[in-house]
């Protein structure tokens, strides 16, 4: 309970009325409570809850209108989590592995939505591998978060396809198949903002999420999110302990949103700056001097290297802030297709007469 004195009198009458403190609001006048969701039903200590908190903070700080956000998920513990943040946003808990198609459809119908997909490693890499691949290829505007814990939680702890070679289940069973690196896949396939973080790395994840909100295209974030019930033991490579020992940040990430005045200068020799689609600035302070996050080949190669070294590399591995998104390429009307009136969506009698004449 922090600094609250526990012996303070309850509801003590105050003779002099004090002004009610103005609740803190963001740039669109909303409080952080306006971004909250239902009470979580995930296990205490689950990494997914921390990710939900970071989403709330990032959306609040970026001043995103909750009504513009559409949340999407598949099946699994991770996919339940959209119920635990942003109640004022529509949400669609779809079927196992097929959230990408539902999100794609929704974005076709209403390109003004901000799509946020929350999924897991089972949902994405196994049953959903096909849809994941094509989502990345299309560069659909979406923030796609994999809450990656290396196991199937909701079915009680079977290995997923991101489990590392040689890692063990609680029962001692050893994983003898190599893991899929979702980031390397996403980079190769065409996603334009690809990064990895850790649910326990509050600052990095928070910053990456804010930058993700500013991006126009597919943001693929693989967030290692330990499963306290089935995969937090010795022998797991997705445990809190393992991550604390092996997380290797590629750079220090900072972000200045477009609506804030840029006051801090940076040294281009030590910091890589990316100007985002909306004018925001993503700054990556180099910990490795040579790393260029706009170079796909380097990104994939560095990821492969990290596997060989046994480190869990985090940060923004690849970014292309200029590539057209799938919605840009479709060249649809400014007004969402969903709400176009009949006068626009039904051609005239003359058009039908012309079509009929062509068939005569």
């Amino acid at each position: 309970m922090g600094n609250t004195p526990t012996n303070a009198p309850i509801a003590a009458p105050t003779p002099v009325p004090t002004p009610t403190p103005t609740p803190k609001t963001n740039r669109i006048g909303l409080q952080v409570i306006d971004y909250r969701g239902g009470k979580t039903t995930l296990c205490a200590g689950c990494g997914h809850n921390a990710i939900s908190e970071r989403i709330i903070d990032a959306m609040y700080e970026m001043g995103v209108k909750p009504e513009r956000v559409a949340k999407f998920s598949g099946i699994g513990c991770s996919s339940k989590s959209p119920a635990y943040f942003m109640n004022r946003s529509h949400s669609f808990n779809s079927v196992h592995g097929r959230m990408p198609s539902v999100a794609t459809g929704a974005m076709l119908a209403n390109k003004n939505l901000i799509a946020l997909g929350v999924t897991g490693d089972g949902d994405t890499v196994s049953i959903g591998a096909g849809q994941f691949v094509h989502l990345m290829r299309r560069n659909l505007p979406i923030i796609y978060i994999i809450e990656d814990n290396g196991v199937y939680g909701l079915t009680k702890g079977q290995f997923s396809a991101t489990a590392d070679l040689g890692s063990t289940l609680k029962s001692g069973v050893v994983n003898d198949l190599p893991p899929v690196d979702t980031c390397a896949m996403a980079i190769q396939l065409g996603a334009t903002f690809v990064g990895r973080s850790f649910s326990g790395d509050k600052r990095q994840l928070h910053t990456m999420l804010k930058a993700a909100i500013a991006h126009n295209g597919t943001v693929m974030l693989d967030v290692v999110s330990p499963c306290v019930t089935f995969n937090d033991h010795e022998g797991s490579t997705k445990s809190y302990k393992y991550m604390q020992a092996h997380e290797e940040p590629l750079h220090e990430v900072s972000f200045v949103p477009a609506f804030e005045e840029i006051t801090v200068d940076y040294d281009p020799g030590t910091t890589f700056e990316v100007t985002m689609h909306d004018g925001s600035s993503l700054r990556l302070r180099k910990l490795e001097r040579e790393y260029d996050p706009t170079d796909k080949i380097q990104a994939v190669s560095r990821l492969m290297e990290s596997h060989a070294k046994g480190e869990v590399l985090t940060g923004v591995f690849y970014i292309n802030a200029k590539a057209p998104s799938f919605i840009d390429m479709l060249n649809v009307t400014d007004e969402p297709l969903a709400t176009l009136p009949e006068s626009v969506t039904r051609p005239s009698r003359e058009v039908l007469a012309k079509c009929m004449e062509e068939l005569q």
């Binding site: 004022r88 946003s89 669609f92 808990n93 079927v95 097929r98 794609t104 929704a106 096909g130 094509h134």
Partner: protein, 614 residues
């Protein structure tokens, strides 16, 4: 004789000489190899007869292959308007060496055969009328380059057939020009080929068969179109905004044609599209996108065939439970994998009715014509959005990919129905809403669209477990109440779906039930039964599922009912048996037709008479 309608007539040009002639009643079969370019020639022949004012239909019986396998195109010309496939062939145009012998062997005595001279088919049987044509020589004489000769051989047979059948060559010319309207050079060459065939026949072939095309006026103002194109037009005029699909025969042409129409007619002056059409990675994604788009408010659809329907099962169930509109065109074809995917069937009726897991039942529409492909497009979208549920339009390969004659399509006479959607203004008045509450007593709740700018607009869409407010619930009473309400929607839909079509005087004790493309064989069969066997029948054509009151009444009123369909197990009959009073089920009898070719009247008549014990 290969025909059922023989009329003695004075032959023109041969005064005083009486012989049997058959006018405007025949079926022509062209046997070729696929990939040989015969499609254009067959269309020209079809159109030439159509332009002579004679009702026609054209059916392509093709293999699942790009080039080199046998393919047959059947044209039926019939003065009485019978356009179902005719079982017997009257004129065979044999161009495929590989099948020619078999093709000739299956003909009825008296049929005519037009063949490529080197095939020497006249040695196979002596009860047919043969015409040999030296195609290679004629092709060379037209002056085509060597590589084009194979293609123009096909146009030569059009000329020969036109001359033999006495089709006005001006109509052939008109049809060639229409076919190659954008390619002047090709038009000239093809016309020369047709003329070479025509001239050769005039100079060298002595007419010995009885078949003639004479001018009539039964096609004036009519159009020729395939069902998939008609559906594409229908969807465009129904205000469809999102199409997501995965290529599969025989549905691909629906979306491909739609892309062409939409690009032409649904792009604004600013160059921006009022639609999005996306080729998905598979049918799972195609239906997922449809559902996502519909959830977000688009009028969205996909088109597929049986295997795609199977893959869409899981998502269809989700849409049923989450209550999201979706329009799914099922261009039915023969079953799984390789073999007969390019052959027609009505084989998905039962599986589609209950597609997915858990308790589900889905609205289905059964178009029988290109006209209904057009009109049912709007019905499907309106029903889907009105009842917030998937709606299946059960077309088939015969309807979807073949050429049908039709009156021009009527401009939609009803406004688009977007169903119960609450806007920001509605929410400001109401303060909030309960997504799955039956406010109006019809089982249908009110929905909101993502992006609606009101703090109370959002709801959480999820599968089976939710209460009236859309909140997570595993309570038995919530689930049960929800299931009953969803069923109520289906009951309400009974009075919204297209009503069946009833034919016959209502005095007969024998009924026929049919649907979709089987209709055309049934209509002709009923006339055969009446004329040849003095058996009168009543006929009910089912247009939709759930069944409407008229269907139950029809079964009550008849002692025995023949359900005619193009599958093995009598799927519609089974569906009816599940729905009618148990004591009525013995009245239903199945006439099933399952060989991949469009159903024909003669088969129906024969089967009917056999089952009647006559």
């Amino acid at each position: 004789m290969a025909t059922t309608d023989v009329v003695p007539q004075e032959l023109s040009g041969q005064p005083g000489q009486r012989r049997v002639v058959v006018v405007n009643d025949m079926s022509i079969q062209v046997a070729t190899v696929n990939g040989s370019g015969s499609q254009s020639s067959n269309t020209v022949l079809l159109r030439s007869i159509f332009q002579m004012g004679v009702p026609i239909s054209g059916k392509n019986l093709f293999p699942s292959n790009i080039a080199g396998l046998p393919t047959w195109y059947t044209i039926r010309a019939n003065k009485d308007g019978y356009i179902a496939r005719k079982k017997e062939i009257d004129l065979l145009i044999a161009m495929n060496a590989e099948t020619a012998q078999d093709d000739v062997k299956t003909l009825t005595a008296g049929a005519a055969v037009l063949y490529d001279e080197p095939l020497a088919l006249d040695k196979v049987r002596d009860d047919l009328i043969y015409y040999a044509v030296p195609y290679d020589k004629l092709a060379a004489s037209v002056g085509a380059e060597a590589k084009l000769r194979k293609l123009i051989k096909n146009m030569i047979y059009v000329g020969v057939a036109a001359q033999l059948l006495e089709i006005d060559f001006a109509e052939v010319e008109k049809a060639v020009r229409k076919q190659f309207s954008k390619k002047v050079k090709a038009a000239t060459l093809n016309l020369a080929a047709a003329k070479a065939g025509h001239d050769y026949a005039a100079a060298n072939l002595k007419k010995r068969d009885p078949f003639y095309i004479q001018r009539m006026d039964k096609t004036k103002g009519k159009i020729i179109v395939d069902g998939n194109s008609a559906a594409a037009l229908g969807c465009m005029f129904a205000g469809c905004t999102v199409v997501t699909w995965y290529p599969i025969t025989p549905s691909s042409s629906l979306v491909e044609t739609m892309i062409e129409y939409m690009k032409e007619h649904r792009v604004g002056p600013d160059g921006k599209a009022t639609f999005a059409i996306v080729q998905a990675e598979d049918e799972l994604a195609a239906i997922g996108m449809v559902i996502g788009a519909a959830w977000a408010g688009a009028r969205s659809m996909t088109a597929t065939a049986g295997p795609g329907i199977s893959l869409m099962a899981e998502f269809t169930g989700l849409a049923y439970y989450v209550e999201i509109p979706a329009v799914i065109w099922d261009i039915q074809r023969v079953g799984p994998s390789t073999g007969l995917p390019t052959r027609t069937a009505q084989g998905d009726v039962l599986s589609t009715a209950f597609l997915s897991h858990g308790d589900t039942n889905h609205i289905m529409l059964f178009p029988n014509s290109v006209n209904e492909c057009f009109t049912m497009a709007q019905d499907a979208f309106d029903l889907a959005e009105r009842f917030q549920t998937p709606v299946f339009v059960m077309s088939d390969l015969d309807l979807g990919m073949n050429n049908w004659m039709s009156d021009p399509f009527p401009y939609p006479d009803k406004p688009i129905d977007r169903g119960k959607v609450l806007s920001k203004a509605d929410l400001e008045k109401l303060g909030g809403f309960a997504r799955y509450k039956d406010v109006d007593g019809d089982g249908v709740g009110y929905r909101t669209l993502p992006g609606t700018d009101h703090p109370a607009a959002a709801y959480f869409a999820r599968g089976s477990g939710h209460n009236e407010k859309g909140q997570y619930s595993e309570r038995p009473d919530d689930f049960e109440r929800n299931m009953e309400r969803i069923n109520k929607k289906f009951e309400t839909a009974r009075s919204f779906v297209p009503r069946p079509e009833l034919m016959g005087g209502g005095k007969s004790k024998i009924g026929i039930v049919g649907y979709g493309t089987s209709h055309w064989a049934i209509v002709e069969s009923r006339d055969q039964l009446s004329k040849e066997h003095r058996v009168e029948t009543d006929y009910l054509r089912v247009l939709s599922y759930p069944f409407t009151r008229e269907v139950y009444d029809f079964i009550e009123r008849h002692d025995r009912i023949y359900v005619v369909e193009q599958n093995r197990d009598g799927q519609m009959a089974s569906l009816l048996k599940l729905d009618i009073k148990p004591e009525l089920t013995p009245r239903l009898r199945s006439i099933c037709h399952v060989h991949g070719l469009p159903i024909d009247a003669r088969s129906v008549t024969d089967e009917f008479m056999m089952m009647e014990g006559k």
